[in-house]
C-alpha cells in the first residue's frame, strides 16, 4: 500500500482540525505536531543541511498558518498542501542563492528506474542514468523525485507541483521517454 494514501475517515478528521485552525490559530498546533517531521524530512532531502531545513520548515508552517483561510480541500491530505508550500520555499531558496541543488536518491529506486531503460538495471546503466538525470530541468527533476524517489501517487504529485493528476502522468511519461533517449544517446 502507498504510504501516502489516506482513507476517508482520516481526511474527514483532518478537515475538522483545519476548521479549528481557521477559527483559532492555536488549533494549528495539532497540524504542526502531525506534519512537522514529514515536512522537515521533505525539505532536508532537498537541502541536506540541518539549519537550512529548520529555517525553511519554519517559513513553510508560517505561510501555511497565514494562508489557511485560502486552503481548499481536494480530497487529498493536508500534507500535500504543506509539501507544495515547502517545495516553493526550497525553489525560492535555490533561485536566490544559485547554489547546487541537492537531490537525495535511494539506490533501490535508482535501480528500479534504470530497469525501465533498454539496458536494464546493471551498474553501468545506473551510472548512465545518474548522468542522464543530471541533464534534466528542475521541474522535470522535481517530478521524478516526487514520483520515483518518494513514491507518491500521481494525484499527490500533481497537487504538490500545482498541475492536474493527468498532466502529472503525461509529464512523467514524457520525462521517462526523455531519459530513455538520453540513455540511448550515451550507450
Amino acid at each position: 500500500m502507498n504510504p501516502h494514501h489516506k482513507d476517508e475517515t482520516y481526511l474527514r478528521q483532518e478537515l475538522e482540525q483545519i476548521e479549528k485552525a481557521r477559527i483559532n490559530p492555536d488549533g494549528f498546533g495539532v497540524l504542526y505536531e502531525k506534519y512537522y517531521k514529514q515536512i522537515y524530512i521533505f525539505i532536508n532531502r532537498r537541502t541536506d543541511n540541518e539549519e537550512l531545513s529548520s529555517e525553511l520548515c519554519s517559513l513553510t508552517f508560517l505561510k501555511a498558518m497565514l494562508n489557511i483561510q485560502k486552503y481548499t480541500d481536494r480530497g487529498l491530505p493536508f500534507s500535500s498542501w504543506l509539501f507544495r508550500i515547502a517545495l516553493n520555499e526550497v525553489n525560492m531558496y535555490y533561485r536566490k542563492h544559485k547554489t547546487e541543488r541537492c537531490v537525495s536518491l535511494e539506490s533501490k529506486a535508482v535501480r528500479a528506474l534504470a530497469g525501465e531503460s533498454p539496458a536494464g538495471p546493471d551498474e553501468d546503466s545506473v551510472k548512465r542514468l545518474m548522468l542522464a538525470l543530471g541533464r534534466l530541468s528542475e521541474p522535470d527533476m522535481q517530478l521524478i523525485e516526487l514520483r520515483f524517489f518518494e513514491e507518491r501517487a500521481f494525484a499527490e504529485v500533481g497537487e504538490i507541483v500545482g498541475i492536474t493528476e493527468n498532466n502529472a502522468k503525461v509529464r512523467i511519461y514524457r520525462i521517462l521517454e526523455k531519459l530513455k533517449t538520453l540513455l540511448k544517446g550515451r550507450s
Binding site: Y40, S58, E100, V110, R135
Partner: protein, 86 residues
C-alpha cells in the same frame, strides 16, 4: 540546465535532530508579529492619506512663499538707489 548534487542513501534525520527545531510557540509568536503589524498601507487609509496630502500641499506652499520672498529681497538689493534731481 540546473546543477545537481546527488546524494545516495542519505540516512533520514533522527527524531531528536528533528525535535530540536520543532517549536510551535515560536511559530505562534512569529504569526502574531506578522498579523498584528499594520497591514493597510498608508495610501489605502483615507484619513491618513488626506492628512499626508495636506502636509505635502502646506509644505509646497511654504516653500513657494519662501522662494518668492527670497526673490523680492534679491531684487531690492540689486536695484540702484534713486537720486532725485532738480
Amino acid at each position: 540546465m540546473a546543477n545537481y548534487k546527488f546524494k545516495t542513501d542519505v540516512p533520514a534525520p533522527t527524531d531528536d535532530e528533528i525535535g530540536k527545531h520543532k517549536d510551535f510557540s515560536k511559530l505562534r509568536g512569529n504569526y502574531e508579529s506578522v498579523t498584528t503589524r499594520s497591514r493597510v498601507p498608508l495610501y489605502k487609509n483615507k484619513k491618513a492619506f488626506l492628512v499626508l496630502v495636506l502636509i505635502v500641499i502646506v509644505a509646497f506652499l511654504m516653500a513657494e512663499l519662501l522662494e518668492e520672498k527670497k526673490k523680492e529681497n534679491h531684487q531690492q538689493k540689486e536695484q540702484p538707489p534713486k537720486h532725485e534731481t532738480n
